[in-house]
Amino acid sequence: MIVEQIIAASIVMTTPILLAAMGGLVNRQAGIVNIALDAKMLTGAFVAVVVSSATGSWLVAVIAAALAGALVGLLFSLVITRANANMIVAGLGLNVFVAGFLGFILTWVYKSSGTLRLPDVQLLPHFLPESVSGVPIIGRALAELEPLTVFAWATVFVLPFLLASTRIGLWVRVTGNAPQVARSMGLPQKSIQDFSTSFAGFYSGLGGAHLALASIGLFNEGLTAGRGFIALAAFYFGRDRPVATAMVCLLFGFLEATQIRMQTAGLPPKLIGTIPYLMVLVALCIAGWRASRRKALS
């Protein structure tokens, strides 16, 4: 019973991180470290709640959230690729800007501070019949399965193919790996980067929509709780490879799902919460140490 609950919760917790991480890794493969995934998730969550309430359709809400995320991503990208802005500072600035902007709208338009509750918000549907919950171990997870989780995992397995075998996939990889080669082969390097950042925004927007519409059905200023940065940690640790990154996301989702339980076992949740970041630090150290040894040997 507990195992079933943990599995179900882990999967739900993984989805938003996973979506943002898939976007972020494509972005990084094209040579842009996107530190503003959080801002796009927040945008997506907000738009999802507003649109879901207005239209009563979760599907329209999700699409709107993704497009809003992509739009923010595109604007962000233009600042970097066309105006030569430093991507780190601009990213941190965008996080501050979006938080301020959404807070402003929340206060001004909805006269609410921090939380937005709207009537008739349609949540993501659980589309499998209730009877699947009878399946041992994963039954509960199956019963709670909604379209965005399916879409996220489908992406994990389609993305390697897209990156390896489509034109745009090849272009994205060469742009990040050797921009001067991309340029000399006549590829529109900047537009490719703009595309990849919009892609990251699209997926982060979906991640935000999942946060808002998976179960709670409302928007809150602190809704993302740094998940954009967890996603960043995930693809750094997964070295931009979709499946490896997804596994890291799953681990992070599991940690989040079990935090409360671990507390009763004497493990403080706040400390558990630092594990993703410590993992990245350790991974960076190992990579750095290896590189310096290789240099010393050659």
């Binding site: 979006v98 301020g100 929340l106 410590l278 960076l284």
Partner: protein, 357 residues
């Protein structure tokens, strides 16, 4: 090797370039004000009215000025801590984390040492906060200097570790037994920094902050290590070739940055909050980055920038009461400043390239 016959353009610094530089300093802020004005127009407010109200609310009276300076205090520290690294070409975004761990370190000293020690507690608390902050940023500094570990990611990650660890401490070992969740016990009265203009919260930390800015100015211009660090920021290859140790400079500026950020945390804990709480910093480290960028790492620029952002914060709070304009306008302005502070570098480069024959 390519032909080395291409010469750099030989053009003297003309007055117009200095003008351009001056404009460059104001440019991000002007853009931010335009953005804010547009938003205000959209919601049907007169931007001029609001801006003048904001100016009045931040500088209009002695009390308001005190509130502004009080809000500027933590930014003096975080901006200096950021600028120390940025001018060396080290992209340290971990000042926020060092500020927070410094804060909890100072608070811990402030309530755990015997109250009878009096003023000495403050000294010990600042020293301990500086030590903790220094160790905190020493780690990514060494990783960068010795193993070329990307400092952006390592310091960013360390921020979250700082939030987690301090969040754990204030809910566990250092939790106040009387005051409920997420706070440490208050520091002894002897450990509190003097309030300068009661009832305002402006405290002696502001003076410490100004002293830190002065020390920074002295360090940048009048010390060999400050000079070396600047050269490393200009060009690492050049520095190596003239005999400056690049790793030593990198580690030094990270440690100094940690010391200053730790001081900032101590000032905030002992002067403002009189304890450590979860959510100790609403992003002072990142606002400090905006200040440093806006002030172009110069001491005067940092003081002006900190006061500007302090004014925004203090005006924002009261303006929400008077005019229904949400406080979040301040974040919008801050975010815009950060984005355009870096955009503008590209713009300047564009202009000077066009100006070249």
């Amino acid at each position: 090797m390519a032909d080395a016959s291409v010469e750099s353009q030989s053009s003297m610094m003309s007055p117009s370039i200095w003008l351009e530089k001056g404009f460059g300093l104001a440019f991000p802020f002007i853009v931010a004000l335009v953005v804010a004005a547009v938003i205000l127009l959209v919601i049907g407010e007169n931007p001029i009215d609001i801006f003048s109200l904001m100016a009045k609310e931040s500088f209009g009276s002695e009390r308001r000025i005190a509130a502004t300076l009080s809000a500027a205090t933590p930014l003096l520290f975080t901006a200096v801590a950021t600028a120390i690294c940025f001018r060396t070409g080290v992209f340290n975004v971990g000042v926020e984390g060092a500020f927070v761990v410094g804060g909890i370190a100072a608070a811990f000293i402030g309530f755990s040492l015997p109250a009878g020690m009096g003023f000495a507690i403050i000294l010990v608390a600042f020293a301990f906060a500086a030590l903790v902050g220094a160790i905190w940023l020493y780690i990514p500094g060494v990783l960068l200097a010795k193993l070329q570990v990307d400092e952006v990611v390592s310091t960013l990650m360390l921020n979250f570790v700082a939030f987690g660890v301090t969040g754990y401490l204030v809910n566990g070992p250092l939790l106040s037994e009387v005051s409920g969740n997420n706070v440490t016990p208050p520091v002894h009265e002897a450990a509190e920094l003097t309030r300068l203009m009661p009832p305002s919260t402006l405290h002696a930390g502001f003076i410490v902050g100004i002293l830190v800015v002065i020390a920074y100015a002295v360090w940048t211009r009048r010390t060999p290590t400050g000079f070396s660090a600047a050269m490393v920021g200009y060009s690492q290859r050049f520095s190596r070739a003239v005999g400056i140790s690049v790793p030593a400079s990198i580690i030094l500026v990270m440690v100094l940055s940690g010391v200053v950020a730790g001081f900032g945390g101590a000032s905030h804990a002992l002067g403002q909050l009189h304890r450590f709480t979860d959510g100790f910093s609403p992003g002072y480290g990142f606002t400090g980055m905006a200040v440093a960028l806006l002030g172009r790492n110069s001491a005067i620029g940092i003081v002006l920038g900190a006061i500007l952002f302090g004014a925004l914060a203090s005006a924002g709070t009261t303006i929400q009461l008077f005019s229904n304009i949400p406080l979040d306008l301040v974040n919008i302005i801050q975010g815009t400043v950060m984005i355009f502070a870096v955009v503008e570098i590209g713009r300047l480069r564009f202009l000077s390239r066009r100006a070249a024959p």
